[in-house]
């Protein structure tokens, strides 16, 4: 079998046999040729697949970095209850005659935590906790870091990419249709008996772009495993 796979992913390693599985991950047309040789005679058939994809819009909102005591002292983007750190609300329009569902997958592009006075630095990247992050068209997140002794200053920086995935009802893998890059950073210091923000925290506003490549990761992000 031979195919124009410019709008496909996971091209099959084996392209011979009576059945070949092929996943298209982007809209477009693809010409597929299939050859059979029997008794020294070769027969060829060609067809064109028209691949449709959903259209989407994503509304985003962000909150501010704060220090709170919602679960002990913590520095957080937004709050766990109340104003979310970020919220993404997608409107997905399915191609006529097709159905499916949406989900979000989030990757931690990078995390860095610098904790003093012990000058401990922790870093990580990878899948954000579970796959998928959340089912449905909406997701929110209010990431946080604990503020606790013996540390008196904590500087944290988060960078994320949230992928909007489409799962067609027909047998298929979930495919990515959009991604949202976002992040935040901030520093908290302990003084007297309270923690407070130090300096101006930074919120990287969500930036949405079309995305057809699947999210890739090699580990689940863990902000406490890689510290030195």
């Amino acid at each position: 079998m031979a195919a124009d796979n410019s709008n496909a992913t996971n091209p099959p390693v084996v392209t011979t046999g009576s059945e070949v599985t092929f996943y298209y991950t982007a809209a477009g047309t693809s010409t597929v040729s299939y050859s059979v040789t029997t008794s020294g005679q070769t027969y060829q058939a060609t067809t064109t697949f028209v691949v449709l994809s959903p259209t989407y819009t994503i509304a985003t909102a962000t909150s501010t970095v704060n220090v709170n005591q919602d679960n002990g002292w913590q520095i957080q983007l937004g709050r766990s209850l109340g104003t979310r750190g970020v919220s993404f609300t997608a409107t997905v329009t399915q191609p006529t005659g097709f159905s499916g569902s949406s989900q979000w997958v989030q990757l931690v592009n990078s995390f860095s935590g610098k904790y003093t006075p012990n000058t401990l630095t922790c870093t990580t990247s990878g899948l954000d906790t579970v796959y998928p992050y959340r089912s449905g068209t909406s997701m929110t997140d209010s990431p946080n870091a604990t503020l606790a002794a013996p540390f008196t200053q904590e500087e944290v920086s988060f960078s994320f990419t949230a992928y909007l995935m489409w799962q067609p009802s027909s047998p298929s893998i979930p495919v990515s249709i959009a991604k949202v890059n976002w992040g935040w950073s901030g520093t908290a210091v302990f003084s007297g008996s309270i923690w407070a923000l130090s300096g101006a925290p930074v919120v990287t506003p969500p930036a949405t772009t079309a995305q057809t490549a699947s999210p890739l990761w090699v580990q689940v992000a863990n902000a406490t495993n890689n510290c030195h």
């Binding site: 931690v108 959340r134 209010s142 990431p143 946080n144 406490t224």
Partner: protein, 167 residues
């Protein structure tokens, strides 16, 4: 008289069990709920020393209105609490210490959002008790789970007994 003593012992054990369990985010003693029903069961009631102890957890909304929970990792969302046959808590693993804010590094929570649990919905998770506790001594352990439900406060599960066999 003997019956009364036995009854007293039972009540005391029940109270002690509750007293050991606290949700991290709410220090009120957790209680079983008839609206947010937290059920746990063991994959295997007995494990070999050092083995994996799978705990099945379910939080069901049996009320007629939605309630709210904070979703994170399973270990953060459903807090496992274990006591041995003497009522003492075994040592926590380093990751569990961090989640309870007594670890060597601050806890960082990437996935953190409020979710509405609709009437009839059930949240499920499978966890490994050995990821939270170092069960270094063979014996019987009592396992409970606590989960914060915004509308009801800290909710307590049923208790199950885990037998850790000698190697």
């Amino acid at each position: 008289m003997r019956l009364a003593l036995k009854l007293t012992s039972f009540v005391c054990l029940s109270c002690c069990g509750w007293a050991q369990t606290r949700c991290m985010s709410d220090k009120r003693p957790p209680r079983p709920s008839t609206e947010a029903i937290l059920r746990i069961s063991l994959g295997d009631a007995g494990i070999s020393f050092g083995g994996r102890a799978v705990l099945h957890v379910e939080l069901a909304n049996s009320s007629k209105r939605p309630f709210t929970v904070i979703e994170s990792s399973a270990q953060r969302s459903f807090e496992i609490h274990v006591v041995d046959s003497h009522g003492s808590e075994p040592p926590l693993t380093e990751s569990a210490k961090i989640m309870r804010h007594i670890g060597r590094v601050p806890d960082v929570n990437f996935r953190n959002f409020a979710a509405s649990v609709e009437p009839g919905d059930v949240l499920k998770a499978d966890m490994d008790i050995a990821e939270a506790y170092v069960l270094a001594e063979p014996g019987k352990y009592t396992v409970t789970v606590c989960r914060m439900v915004t509308e009801f406060g800290p909710v307590l599960s049923n208790a199950v007994t885990l037998l850790v066999r000698p190697q």
